[in-house]
């Protein structure tokens, strides 16, 4: 049973990695919610800082994150533009880029954001990884579906 606090049903979090599938999720949400005048949509993407074990130099890691941030911001703006093109008001769209320095999974970060900011709906794209890939690397969408609490989860394929 989902317990919705006041207003959270209007807050939608779309976790995007800017792959083809997550852009499909953006389009789907835009299409679904264009008639919903009060829906607030946040596009969230996570940039993971490389591990110091792999890139030991602090400055090099910082530079890599900065490059990823610039690239991501441009693509996030494009995703935001897709929403406005579908009829979502710009004032109802937020872009959020989270840089993660800890060895934490992306799904945990998404769920943390959902809990902290009280989103009623969480949207993820699914890439359709193979069983072997799921075994070795895991799957963000599977973990979000399994571990999400107090919200609806939409998985877009």
């Amino acid at each position: 049973m989902i317990e919705l606090a006041g207003g959270i049903e209007n807050k939608v979090l779309i976790a995007v990695d800017l792959s083809e599938n997550s852009l499909k999720a953006v389009d789907y949400v835009g299409g679904m919610l264009r008639c919903h005048g009060t829906a607030e949509i946040t596009l969230l993407t996570v940039i993971k800082e490389p591990s110091p074990d792999i890139v030991p130099d602090d400055q090099e890691r910082g530079r890599m994150v900065e490059e990823a941030r610039k690239e991501t911001l441009a693509l996030m703006e494009e995703a935001g533009a897709r929403l406005t093109a579908l009829g979502i008001s710009e004032k109802h769209i937020r872009l959020k880029i989270q840089v993660c320095q800890k060895p934490m999974s992306v799904s945990d970060l998404i769920l943390e954001e959902q809990q902290n900011a009280g989103y009623g709906t969480l949207v993820v794209g699914r890439r359709g990884v193979s069983k072997r890939q799921e075994f070795l690397f895991g799957s963000v969408s599977s973990k979000v579906v399994r571990d999400a609490k107090n919200c609806a989860v939409w998985v877009i394929e």
């Binding site: 074990d53 792999i54 690397f137 895991g138």
Partner: protein
């Protein structure tokens, strides 16, 4: 120590003292040029280099690993392995999957620190050489590879399974508990293979070696280690791996067994390897086979944490011990 004192120590601990001038090095950056007979001065201690370690069964078969030196600690004559800084990245092949793998001296140094005094792991410490390189000084383990132990059993599988497997299973369970401890500390082993467990000759202890591989953190950070543990379990329960071509070569009985196998009975990562060992060896208890099937093509759920694997294996322990 001056050169005369070093020569004295070398004469005490080595039957082959170097001739001519001693080459004493404190910067190990150019590890290719460090040779047998050189002395390394690291962290205030001296080590006589005796040669390089050689790559084992996998990878560059028989190739010397120039960044891994065999050495004698000139303080007490003990054997050491000295791992020098060598960064590389490469694609590791896991069945049909590839994973980008990095060799990280810093990671291995940190793990050595965290597992200090836990004798389920190789023991050693990290020192910085005069150029700031992380050099790991490791106590050499005198013993045999787990891989060789399993292949040394000459009896048929049923005798092995009833007479030897319960004891070995207990030891392997202990190895898995050790990996679980590592994971709880937020660390990976990174290269879990059946030749990365050494069985110490004097004590019979099973000990993990070589922790310098690392990967980019994925959603399932322990996936690669769990893959390795699954392989070791399959290898142990089966007294080696069993592949479809081996069955076909066993005449009518092998062909009959092969005809009973379905796609879901095969390994998730190796398409000819049999994971459902109960179909080959019906006396394997259900509880153990249940765990093995988590690594098969037919698996619907996978282990994400070593805790889960250990929990299921605990149930096997009872079944195996009771037989």
């Amino acid at each position: 120590m001056n050169e005369a004192q070093l020569r004295e120590q070398i004469a005490s601990y080595s039957r082959f003292p170097p001739r001519g001038n001693l080459n004493i090095l404190s910067d190990t950056t150019e590890f290719m040029s460090i040779q047998s007979g050189d002395v390394l001065e690291l962290g205030g201690a001296y080590y006589l280099v005796r040669g390089e370690e050689v790559e084992g069964r996998f990878g560059l078969d028989g190739e010397p690993k120039y960044w891994v030196k065999r050495a004698i600690d000139l303080a007490d004559g003990s054997s050491k392995i000295i791992k020098l800084v060598f960064h590389e990245k490469f694609l590791m092949q896991i069945g049909t999957e590839q994973i980008l793998c990095f060799r990280s001296p810093v990671k291995e140094a940190r793990v050595l620190d965290k597992v200090r005094d836990d004798l389920r792991f190789m023991q050693g410490f990290n020192v910085l050489d005069s150029a700031g390189n992380h050099v790991r000084i490791i106590e050499r383990i005198q013993g045999d590879r787990y891989y060789d132990l399993i292949h040394s059993f000459q009896m048929d599988h049923e005798v092995y399974f009833h007479d030897h497997f319960p004891i070995i299973f207990d030891k392997v369970f202990g190895c898995m508990e050790a990996i679980n401890r590592l994971h709880r500390m937020g660390e990976l082993h990174g290269d879990i293979r059946n030749d990365h467990i050494l069985i110490e000759r004097d004590t019979g202890s099973y000990r993990w070696i070589d922790f310098d591989y690392t990967y980019d953190w994925a959603e399932s950070p322990y996936g690669v280690d769990l893959f390795g543990l699954g392989n070791i379990l399959l290898f142990t329960a089966g007294k080696g791996f069993h592949n479809l071509p081996d069955l076909a070569a066993c005449g009518p009985e092998g062909m009959r067994m092969r005809s009973c196998l379905e796609h879901g009975d095969l390994s998730l990562f190796f398409k000819h390897r049999i994971a459902n060992l109960q179909k080959l060896f019906p006396y394997i208890p259900d509880s153990l086979n249940y765990v093995l099937l988590h690594f098969s093509q037919g698996a619907r759920v996978f282990y994400e944490h070593t805790d889960e694997l250990l929990q299921d294996l605990s149930a096997c322990r009872l079944d195996i011990a009771a037989r």
